[in-house]
């Protein structure tokens, strides 16, 4: 009788262990999905709260200051990247198109690629790398050194003081820098195609004027706005809640938060690019 009981108990134990092993990966996925949904919800509330404080009377100077840090100081790197992107695009496309005798469409290809896709995406990624990471690190350090608590004790709303100016400045800066990227990129394409490969300058500019319309520009503008909101929100959010990270604390947490901010922003830029493109094409 005792032996039978032991046998039944062992069997029950084995079954539970088996179920545990099988369900473990699903539980892990489930937990991560729930955490992601929670984070998206929290970040959305974070964004709304920040935007609500945009029109506070003392915001103007802080927004201008952030436009300088996020926008103006990113201009050089954006110009450099866009010039070489346009040049390589011009070079590669010329060699491909010339085989079909379609080199006359080079201006259209370069300008549409830049205005619709590469301009907004690469600008957003470059700003994420340069300014987004700095935003996360700066706010993160302020959090761990109790400066954000200090703001609260001084009755200065940390959202209004730290987050809103950065999001507002990003919304202003991203489209402007995207325009710079598009323009310099097209000039880069011109340099490759016309100055180096000998394509006729008039053909290049005519093909741009003929096929680029207002809708293309609007789509690029919409994308850059969406990316601005994503990058600024993710970077501010990661820095602001650095103290709630479960994987580490202190300076290490700031480092990890900065990495997370850049990685998440870049992935979301590409995902959002696809989603916005699909919606705009409907």
């Amino acid at each position: 009788m005792i032996a039978l009981d032991d046998y039944k108990q062992n069997r029950t134990g084995d079954t539970q262990r088996f179920r545990g092993t099988v369900s473990k990966p699903f539980a892990l996925i489930g937990r991560n999905v729930i955490r992601w949904i929670n984070s998206i919800g929290a970040a959305t509330i974070f964004l709304v709260l920040a935007l609500l404080k945009t029109f506070h009377p003392k915001q103007f100077q802080k927004v201008i200051q952030q436009i300088y840090y996020i926008g103006a100081r990113s201009t050089t790197i954006i110009m450099l990247v866009s010039l070489f992107t346009g040049m390589v695009l011009g070079l590669q496309s010329y060699h491909a198109l010339v085989q079909f005798g379609a080199e006359g469409s080079l201006g259209t290809l370069v300008s549409l690629s830049l205005i619709r896709e590469l301009g907004p995406v690469l600008t957003a990624i470059m700003i994420t790398a340069r300014a987004g990471s700095a935003i996360t690190a700066e706010i993160g350090v302020q959090r761990i050194s109790e400066q954000i608590d200090a703001l609260e004790t001084m009755r200065i709303d940390p959202f209004r003081y730290l987050v809103t100016p950065r999001i507002t400045a990003s919304i202003v800066s991203f489209p402007l820098l995207t325009t710079v990227f598009d323009l310099i990129g097209i000039i880069g394409g011109y340099v490759s195609a016309v100055a180096l490969m000998g394509l006729n300058a008039g053909v290049y500019s005519h093909s741009i004027r003929s096929y680029v319309d207002m809708e293309d520009l609007t789509n690029g503008f919409v994308k850059s706005l969406v990316f601005a909101v994503i990058v600024a929100t993710v970077c501010c959010y990661q820095g602001y809640f650095v103290h709630m990270r479960e994987d580490s604390k202190g300076a290490k947490a700031v480092g990890l938060a900065t990495t997370s901010a850049v990685v998440i922003s870049c992935v979301l830029i590409l995902v959002a690019d696809y989603v916005v493109t699909s919606l705009l094409m409907v």
């Binding site: 109790e146 400066q147 608590d149 200090a150 004790t153 001084m154 009755r155 200065i156």
Partner: protein, 414 residues
């Protein structure tokens, strides 16, 4: 009894499974310096953060002037909180801003004051906290003491009614610790705010505190004056006070008040009731002018030096001493009469003038050639007592007989 300015009723705070504060009850009264003492990690800072609203209690009520803050309207709560300032343990100064910008920030963000009004007010605070030369420097370019002063200036810029100090002396050496405490005491008197301080600098905080709150085992086990705390019969006294009290020797090298009382009892109880002994009370007069001439740090070094010389002179002849107030020392000479005591005190003054003072001034001028010399007087009162008399009554008598026994002069004065 007055209505407390701030009152905690059955406050409980948990972080996850861990209970940090359990049914805490306390009262803080207007115009006083209240110090919350307890061991590190006992929840003192958590308690302080509840006062300013950085943390919310899980249970219980916090009352501000008798009104529960939970029942207050948003504007009323904002009004109440606007009267409270907080000085962080880490100072929490903005590293990317100069001292001037740090101090001006609350006025720039919260008031409609004009720029020149803000400038005047900030500069006044900067001068009061002796930061004139550091105004355009960044916090990382300042010493620990100067950073504390900058944080204090920022906390005081809005003329708060209550200032909360979270371990203001952490990480400082004994001289600087006492300099910061003395600075807090002086500003509290000057600006007349209610100070609530978290500290484990026992007994140094006793010298500046009107009330002590003892946090032990997640709740407040004692509320009262520092004198009442010495008679408080509770494990807190054995486990906490004794473990922290040893720090007192760091500054003066003298006995703590408790050790002093124990020595007094044990040395005199075996003596005949008619055998006399002497008590001397030393008083370093006019601390404020000393502080304004040589600064907080040097003023504390003067006290430190005085403690060292008292110990050197009186310990050798069987005496024992303690520091009772920020600038007051009491020495018991168990085997001396008044005449002998007067002669010993005279020797002490000569030695202190000759060696102690010259050290202080030359150090002060080495660090800052602009240091102004100031002469100051030491008063002493002596009284004879008998073993049956209470030490406090003899000290009182000695204080009543205080007179100037010496004027200490700047040795490097021209």
């Amino acid at each position: 009894m007055n209505i407390p300015l701030i009152e905690f009723k059955n406050i409980t705070k948990r972080f996850g499974e861990q209970t940090v504060l359990d049914q805490v009850n306390l009262q803080i009264y207007e115009g006083e310096v209240t110090t919350i003492i307890g061991l590190s990690g006992s929840g003192k800072s958590v308690l302080l953060k509840h006062i300013i609203g950085l943390l919310k209690p899980d249970e219980g009520t916090i009352l501000f002037r008798g009104e529960p803050i939970n029942d207050m309207k948003k504007t009323e709560l904002a009004e109440a909180m606007s009267k409270i300032s907080y000085m962080f343990q880490s100072n929490a100064l903005f590293g990317s801003m100069t001292v001037y910008e740090n101090i001006a920030l609350p006025l720039l963000e919260n008031t409609a004051m004009k720029k020149n009004e803000i400038h005047d007010r900030v500069m006044a605070r900067i001068e009061q906290t002796e930061l004139t030369e550091a105004a355009q420097k960044y916090p990382s370019e300042l010493s620990g003491g100067m950073q504390k002063r900058a944080a204090l200036a920022r906390a005081l810029i809005t003329d708060p009614q209550v200032v909360l100090f979270d371990e203001p002396t952490t990480g400082q050496d004994p001289v600087r610790k006492n300099a910061i405490l003395s600075m807090i005491a002086q500003y509290q008197k000057k600006f007349n705010f209610t100070a609530v301080m978290v500290s484990h600098e026992i007994p140094d905080v006793y010298f500046i505190s009107n009330r002590i709150l003892a946090l032990y085992d997640k709740s407040i086990v004692f509320q009262g004056t520092p004198e009442e705390l010495s008679n408080f019969d509770h494990p807190f006294n054995d486990e906490v006070i004794r473990s922290l009290e040893g720090l007192q020797k760091e500054l003066t090298g003298l006995y703590s008040r408790r050790q002093f009382k124990v020595l007094h009892r044990s040395q005199l109880q075996s003596r005949k009731s008619d055998e006399g002994y002497c008590v001397v009370v030393f008083d370093l007069s006019d601390m404020n002018s000393i502080v304004s001439a040589i600064g907080y740090d040097r003023a504390q070094e003067t006290i430190h030096s005085m403690g060292k010389y008292i110990d050197k002179h009186f310990d050798a002849i069987g005496g024992f001493s303690t520091r009772r107030k920020i600038n007051e020392f009491v020495t018991v000479l168990p085997f001396s009469d008044i005449a002998e005591t007067e002669s010993i005190v005279k020797d002490f003054m000569e030695d202190f003038q000759k060696s102690g003072m010259s050290e202080i001034w030359s150090e002060a001028q080495k660090n800052d050639p602009q240091t102004r010399c100031v002469d100051f007087s030491v008063k002493a009162g002596m009284a004879e007592g008998t073993p049956v008399a209470e030490i406090d009554s003899i000290v009182k008598l000695a204080k009543a007989h205080r007179k100037e026994i010496g004027r200490l002069q700047c040795a490097v004065k021209e």
